[in-house]
Symmetry: C2
Subunit: 177 residues, 2 copies
């Protein structure tokens, strides 16, 4: 039987963008941001406006040096036994990120083949059985079943099946096999 | 009414890979290849094996300097009036190509937004109403209606609706609106 497919977002789901932004804000702007204080805020509210965030996201090596979210590696390896896993990342807005994301995946997730990597803009034409993402804008137009991965900015959204971490994601998907 | 969507392949459909490979083979290997002699051959048969082709595809600036296929620019502009156009290119196999493809599109197709660009591996999870591609391996698994764009390597394939150039593609899609 054909395996069911899962599209897995990178930023905020495999890669801890939140932690990395906090590190960069401290280092580059001397601004201390506490995780517990930004729950439920938008990215722009949490990180002092669009311009500051974009300047960090556009800086060389930001995407290459992102920390991996807890249990993401082991969980994807496990899920790969029963699902066809695709990494689907909105990346074309930040051209510098393209190669960095490929290198980052090769380092941390070498078991994901190039055939299963999608670097895109809008995710509206992606058709998989599941989408694990932290952004409502992607989950809203998802063709398959949307699964919301908890992030500071979606803390107050209640429209989706939520998983707070990778252990919960694996448990939810185990039910689906 | 929501516009119908078209996924448009890059290599062999917007970008003349065939002509560029011929140029590189003459320049780098002193090998002359004539378009009329490679009709119906596979890429490997036409271009002296997998290794030679890959060495060219992996060379810096190959994808950045590809010539644009006749009428592609005007045709996509025209089609954009009635369709949602996505550029969907298998690119993750050649990481060097990622940025070059984005830059190439920005130069020749500046009216295509980053939201509508997909750099992927397998195209099996792409769901659009139409796919214009030169490779049977992509057209075979297409969720929408496949349209085969003529290339030397598909000259003998007869399983798909074929267009020989962009004028024919526009004519076919005009019928679909």
């Amino acid at each position: 039987m054909k395996k069911k497919s899962i599209a897995v977002d990178m930023d905020g789901v495999l890669a801890d963008v939140e932690a990395h932004l906090i590190t960069y804000f401290e280092r580059d702007f001397g601004i201390t941001i506490l995780r517990e204080e930004i729950q439920g805020l938008t990215e722009e509210e949490a990180f002092y406006g669009r311009e500051k965030v974009r300047s960090v996201l556009n800086s060389k090596d930001f995407f290459r040096t992102l920390p991996v979210i807890d249990d993401a590696v082991e969980s994807l390896k496990l899920l790969q036994e029963n699902f066809e896993i695709y990494i689907v990342s909105a990346a074309t807005e930040f051209p510098l990120s393209l190669n960095e994301k490929i290198e980052w995946l090769a380092e941390h997730f070498p078991f994901i083949q190039w055939q299963n990597i999608v670097l895109c803009g809008s995710k509206t034409i992606i058709n998989t059985d599941y989408l694990i993402d932290d952004h409502p804008k992607n989950l809203d137009f998802c063709m398959g079943k949307p699964i919301m991965f908890t992030a500071f900015h979606n803390a107050k959204k209640e429209n989706y099946l939520r998983v707070n971490n990778w252990k919960e994601a694996v448990a939810v998907l185990k039910e689906a096999v």
